[in-house]
Symmetry: C2
Subunit: 326 residues, 2 copies
């Protein structure tokens, strides 16, 4: 890479910076928070070879890095406002790569109404690392908590579960029998689901208005739901056949039944788990017309335990509930 | 490392988290900004082998990572409020290392009144990487800009210049004649100056009250001052003999005169360059009684150029004004 840090920022990132970022020429940026609001702060760090493949499209890497943070804001009922970008670049990154990365970031920053407010670009001897801090806003005192479910709450999940984790298996084992048996449509869908999360920011106003608790499913449906219930002091009976899967996921599972556990425990879904008090359930559903939203169970008391049931009514157990880095 | 990410955070970082960080068990944290204030946002990323030595004390690595961000807040006249910590850990990091890192972070977070509001911990195949986002507050519309000097402004620098960059040379070339000739006191001072910045947050109220412009000197005194003047459309005549050096730096320069250029162009000083309108210069100085503050020149018109003069009155030129990563 022949650019200085100064030129790299001026060329690739300054054009998309917010007014408060002063063309990224200052030590810091400023942000005027809307009156009567709290800020919601989140930070996700992605490392090549851990969270994405080093040869993934730089445009999609940028979008994924921003979208995993947007998903956290959606889960808290927050409206996206600003983000900061930390980028540790290995020596083989060139200007073409950076231009494509910046283009992806710019497109999503516009699509989700979140503005670049600064950051830092450094050299690393290791893998490409993208560290994004995202800031959103909620009315004061209203951030939706993760561990605030109550017994009786209706439990919902958005979208569909398992596409990303089966997409990852497809990347890792393209020669598996089930992988070779997939239709081209299903294959494309699964690969795309892994590469590009669809954070549910369109659901966040309804979450803010009606939810007792919410979290985004990033480390696996079973593990994240268990964490949310246990941390809230709740039990639940969850109907696994009510958990939505895409046609592509169903196609893969039909060919290889062991992939059902992959779908339910694998990471990277970026869907929302939402707990809504029963008296608000209808209004909540009405606030999201035409959106894919599945009611998968009802929270109970901790004494009931957290139990998962299959379509045959038999209880299911999972050896490892969620994705672990360490 | 045998801990899960969950256990690692619960053990090392949750005890120091702010109330709004919800024991680091949620997707995000909240922060209630003081009414009538803007937020000041900054992010600095540090990579082992680039910004610190991999075998530096984890306590000091944590403090440096936080302090370089605190220095940016000081330069903007901002009061520290919150920070988020991104940590990419290589496989050889153990619990003892993490405990020491967390202890350093906790100590500085208390010393500078800035609270941990979340973050992310991931695994990396590369060097340890610390990415901190810091958030401060200023009265609305009052963030002190970097490129807002005016002709006539008095130019000040805090503290002393060159200790960190000569300290780095001492780490890299311990067998150099000048290095071996240093007194033990000077050696300790220089090594410490490189390891641990002293951000000038105690000066930020005076900067907010009186400065037209301010930046922190992180990439080298000559280069940073040149950037600040040129970006403001100003020239200046700078008296290099007025630039303060510590006794240890003077001792090193006396033994090896080439180190004067190292001191003036090397990085990691984390002092402040402050431009104050002439009518406020006395009040500004009076607001910082007993603080080390040197007046090093006066801003002029761009047509005058940016010129540096030595104690003999001769103009000095520097081949490379500042530290470059790329």
């Amino acid at each position: 890479l022949s650019l200085s840090e100064f030129d790299l920022i001026a060329r690739h990132f300054a054009p998309m910076a917010a007014p408060g970022a002063l063309s990224l020429l200052d030590d810091a940026a400023f942000l005027t928070p809307p009156q009567g609001h709290d800020l919601v702060l989140t930070k996700d760090m992605l490392v090549a070879g851990v969270h994405f493949f080093p040869d993934d499209s730089p445009r999609l890497i940028a979008m994924k890095a921003l979208r995993v943070n947007l998903s956290d804001l959606a889960a808290k009922g927050a409206v996206p406002a600003a983000f900061l970008l930390g980028l540790a670049l290995p020596g083989d990154i060139n200007n073409e790569w950076l231009a494509s990365f910046a283009e992806g970031l710019d497109a999503d920053s516009a699509a989700y109404s979140i503005s670049l407010h600064g950051g830092d670009t450094v050299r690393t001897s290791g893998p490409l690392t993208v560290s994004i801090t995202a800031i959103g806003t909620v009315p004061s005192g209203r951030m939706v908590r993760r561990l605030a479910m109550n017994p009786g709450d209706a439990i919902y999940v958005t979208g569909s579960i398992g596409g990303a984790s089966i997409g990852l298996q497809l990347r890792l084992n393209p020669e598996a029998a089930w992988a070779k048996a997939l239709s081209p449509t299903a294959r494309d869908f699964l690969l795309d689901a892994y590469l590009l999360p669809r954070p549910r920011n369109s659901h966040s106003a309804a979450v803010l208005a009606y939810a007792n608790a919410c979290m985004d499913v990033s480390d696996g449906f079973i593990g994240d739901l268990t964490k949310m219930l246990a941390g809230s002091g709740c039990g639940a009976a969850i109907a696994l056949h009510a958990v939505p899967h895409s046609p592509a996921v169903n196609e893969a599972i039909a060919s290889e039944p062991a992939l059902l556990a992959t779908a339910l425990t694998g990471g990277d879904d970026y869907e929302l788990l939402i707990a809504v008090p029963p008296e608000h359930a209808l209004a909540f559903e009405a606030a999201l017309p035409g959106q894919r939203l599945a009611r998968i169970g009802t929270a109970g008391s901790a004494a009931d335990g957290i139990r998962f049931f299959g379509h045959d009514g038999a209880e299911r157990h999972f050896a490892q509930g969620s994705f672990r880095h360490f």
